[in-house]
């Protein structure tokens, strides 16, 4: 960092229209890691074994850390008086831009593992590319989170293999989770208008182009886990543009309760 210059406020190099797109996208990433981080944190104290309880809490904390950096950037891009806390705690469900996958309930351990695995593959590939973004803040956040996401993917891939190629019970549970969750995987790679415009401008990766690599990793892990890749499943979508399942409302009720009941409370 050049210490002889006072940093310019975030996003000043962009025209207002571009800045609005970048804000929209940054919120999408932030909402995604916040909601998944919150879901994982629900496991705290309930993990199947102590070590995995800790593993899930660690991953939740990684995601919340990424969330904070993104909301801070979003708040600066917005340039109003809203802070990272306002963005996390005082927005309505329809303004959340996370894909439907991450708001799906934890279910059993197999369910949580599969949700994490489907997400981690996407997260890993996205961050890998986003590190090269000409937007320096997004690139820096991606570089930090990429190391974490690499471990998450290793962790969830290992567990998919263990559960799929484990006992009859573990495989049955994983297959049941597949019935619920696979239909939400397509939305990760479905680009919103915002994403299309930013990708065309070369600021973010074209997430649709990540799909083949994601499919290759999923196929490799599923083969080892003795699972078949589901075919011809109708893909759900809508979360990224604010059309959520009923689950998000419940998450936000719990997540936002304190700030709604005691505005501005700190501890």
């Amino acid at each position: 960092m050049d210490l002889h210059h006072t940093p310019t406020p975030a996003g000043q190099e962009y025209l207002p229209e571009k800045r609005a797109l970048l804000l929209d996208y940054t919120l999408q990433l932030a909402d995604t890691s916040l909601i998944l981080g919150h879901r994982l944190s629900e496991w705290c104290g309930h993990g199947p074994i102590l070590e995995q309880d800790l593993a899930m809490a660690n991953i939740a904390l990684d995601l919340i850390g990424e969330t904070r950096s993104l909301y801070q950037y979003a708040a600066e891009l917005e340039g109003q008086s809203r802070t990272e806390d306002d963005l996390a705690y005082l927005r309505e469900a329809v303004h959340y831009k996370n894909p439907l996958l991450v708001e799906q309930p934890n279910g059993d351990f197999a369910h949580t593992i599969l949700r994490q695995f489907l997400f981690d593959g996407y997260h890993f590939l996205l961050l890998q590319q986003l590190q090269n973004s000409p937007d320096q803040r997004l690139a820096a956040i991606a570089a930090k989170s990429f190391k974490e996401a690499s471990y998450h993917l290793k962790w969830s891939s290992e567990w998919v293999i263990r559960l799929g190629d484990g006992t009859e019970e573990s495989k049955a549970r994983l297959l049941k989770a597949m019935d619920h969750l696979w239909m939400f995987s397509g939305e990760l790679f479905l680009m919103t208008e915002t994403e299309q415009q930013l990708a065309q401008a070369g600021i973010i990766p074209d997430s649709a182009s990540l799909l083949p690599q994601w499919e290759a990793h999923v196929a490799k892990v599923f083969a080892e886990a003795t699972l078949e890749v589901p075919q011809n499943v109708f893909m759900q979508k809508g979360g990224k543009i604010g059309r959520h399942s009923e689950h998000l409302g419940y998450i936000l009720t719990e997540l936002q309760y304190l700030q709604r009941a005691y505005p501005g409370l700190e501890w």
Partner: protein, 96 residues
């Protein structure tokens, strides 16, 4: 939880930084070595405690028998001459 008792116990050794030895930090349950290392990473290195992890299944560690401690260790008690303290260090040697 019922599965956990079927998982073997592993001893975990962490090297806190390059150049130091791995030190025993504790134990955990895991199905195999790969999982043991991942678990150790999550349980024992969350606060930057380590740069390297060893795990070894506890059953592979052979310990001295506490009942034989007297025969094993007491004979060393009166052999102070085994400490290298019975010669004079020349004054020119600063750091010994």
């Amino acid at each position: 939880m019922s599965q956990q008792k079927d998982w073997p116990l592993w001893e975990v050794f962490i090297r806190s930084k390059q150049g130091l030895d791995h030190k025993h930090v504790g134990s955990l349950h895991a199905a195999d070595a790969e999982m043991a290392i991942q678990n150790a990473r999550d349980v024992y290195t969350r606060r930057m405690e380590g740069v390297s992890i060893w795990v070894v299944e506890s059953k592979h560690i052979h310990a001295s028998n506490p009942d034989e401690a007297a025969a094993f260790f007491d004979p060393a008690n009166d052999k102070v001459y085994r400490h290298p303290t019975f010669y004079e260090v020349p004054a020119e040697i600063k750091n010994m």
